[in-house]
């Protein structure tokens, strides 16, 4: 092999392995103009604060707002498409905090990241403020966060002082039966929403985000209201509420207080949370919204 070829190959190796490391670690620009977001709720936040035109790539699961339809898709939590992300030449990538591989790859490529961590209701507005800072729209972020916080406290105020029904919040169930019931535990965004909507979680003693609720547990906990929520209207609108009639000793069933609320905002910890909060508060306290 000619020495020239060897040198070329060596140079290519150096380029491939050493070049990204030699770059300065990704530093965010004051005002990123090519943002890629793998987190649907953060995508919504960006659009809601007017940074939508600067979003050049979204996750495979983004559906809202309508503008995301024609944005390139770059995978999701489990299968981010690193090549496509880099090909979009982003100057900020919103990733899940748990995506350590992707974070390292972005770091090596010198692309700044915004790691998204999510847990409770209060974290939504905290994230909005942070992402507002990161994309150079701190005032818009602050305005959006303040509006959401005042909407939430308005609903809290509306339902405060009213008797808080013991509520089972279901976010998954097999269509025609009471099998595979997944309910909100005591921590996380859904549990916080239920609290703000003026309900008491029947599984407030379970220190987890979610649990599979057995038939026996549902009967024994005797919720006064059952709220089923579903992100996917296609699969949840056919969830048959009549299945609950098998356990009529449950007050919610006996008093016809089983509700199904669908829409992709219901499970989405983004700026539309006030809408889902309001819908849950309305079924828990219909008299407060007359």
């Amino acid at each position: 092999m000619a020495a020239r070829t060897k040198a070329l190959i060596f140079a290519a190796f150096v380029l491939v392995f050493a070049w990204p490391a030699a770059q300065p670690a990704g530093r965010a620009q004051a005002r990123p103009t090519r943002i890629v977001s793998i987190v649907p709720s953060v995508t919504e936040m960006l659009f809601a604060m007017g940074a939508g035109p600067r979003v050049v790539g979204v996750s495979s699961f983004d559906r809202y707002p309508l503008e995301v339809v024609n944005r390139p898709r770059v995978g999701g939590l489990i299968d981010p498409d690193v090549e496509r992300i880099i090909a979009l030449r982003p100057d900020l990538v919103v990733v899940y905090g748990t995506q350590t591989d992707l974070r390292m790859q972005m770091q090596r490529a010198g692309i700044p990241i915004f790691p998204y961590e999510h847990s409770g209701l209060a974290d939504i507005t905290r994230t909005i403020r942070q992402i507002g800072e990161s994309v150079g729209s701190p005032r818009e972020g602050e305005a959006l966060a303040t509006r959401i916080e005042s909407d939430i406290s308005a609903i809290r105020k509306l339902v405060s002082g009213r008797p808080r029904p013991r509520t089972l919040l279901v976010f998954g169930r097999d269509a025609d039966t009471l099998r595979g019931i997944y309910a909100s535990g005591a921590i996380g965004f859904l549990s916080d929403v239920l609290d703000a909507a003026g309900g008491i979680n029947v599984f407030a003693d379970v220190q987890r985000q979610s649990l599979q609720a057995t038939t026996e547990m549902v009967i024994a906990r005797a919720p006064e209201v059952i709220v089923e929520i579903g992100a996917d209207t296609a699969s949840t609108k056919i969830r048959n509420l009549a299945a609950w009639n098998a356990i009529e000793s449950v007050p919610a069933v006996r008093n016809r207080r089983v509700y199904l609320l669908t829409g992709d905002e219901m499970m989405n910890p983004g700026p539309r949370v006030t809408g889902s909060l309001r819908r849950i508060a309305e079924v828990l306290h219909p008299e407060a919204f007359r």
């Binding site: 097999d174 099998r179 997944y182 649990l211 000793s249």
Partner: protein, 333 residues
Amino acid sequence: MSIGRKIAATWVGFGALAILTCVAAPLVGPTTVDLRRVFDTSLPFAENTDAQIFFVARLPRVLAGGLVGASLAASGVVLQALLRNPLATPFTLGVSAGAALGAMLALTFGLSSGVAGISAVPIASFAGALGAVAIVYGLARAKHRGLSTNVLLLAGVTLNSFFSALILFVQFLSDFSQTFRTVRWLMGDLDVSSYAPVLAALPPIALSFAAFSMLPRKMNLLSISDESAASRGVDVHRTQRLAFLSASLATGAAVSLGGPVGFIGIVVPHLVRLLVGADHRLVLPASAFGGAAFLVACDTVSRTALSPLEIPVGVVTAIIGGPFFLWLLVRKR
């Protein structure tokens, strides 16, 4: 003791074990139930919480556990004899992988057209099981006059891997919450919450057990060799066909009812053989009753140990069954 007496003793002993377990299990649970209130007919059923816990939450669940446990354990016995392989399980021949694929498709694509109180998932998983049986059976018969047990075994194992790959692909296509539900399905779940799924699984399981009842003598001869069985007047091909199809039918129905609960089909038959010997006239009924008792007991652990959370029943059977089976493997003979 004559064999007739031994058979009678086995039926009585293991039958009593199964019945006692099934009677005791609904009395135990994460909530305390007042038996006087359960059977208090002066209260309307709709207002009687204790009765609803007993009759809606617990009893169907115990019945499902008994049915699934008996089917898987008995199918294990039959397949171990058919394949002359002590490591065979009801899931060796691809039936459960087919059932799992059916269930995954129903869960992922949100199939909803349930029939008569049975949701789409068990129907799809039963269909998947039958599909897998048809493929394996077709392959095992293709080049042989009867059934080739070697082809049966290889085709079943291959189909298992192939279906597992398809399952992974379906999971890859589905979104996050669905993936979780499908993984959970694979751990087994007996919380059926009504009698309809139990009743629906009953006919195929009853049919299989009727077929099982014709097999023990022939299985004793077959487990020595095909030739010796044939020389003693056994129609080898017909027996193999009956054994394979009935065990597969029972497994498919059991898996569609409770999910692929592992280890029962292998641990229970071996434990039973330790107690009653290798004669299938004893092993088969003892395993059926023992399987019912074992799964109902495991499910009682599953629903009470971490209440209000539930440990998936397949996890309980594996945690108890795995170490036990390893002990069986290394114990002195």
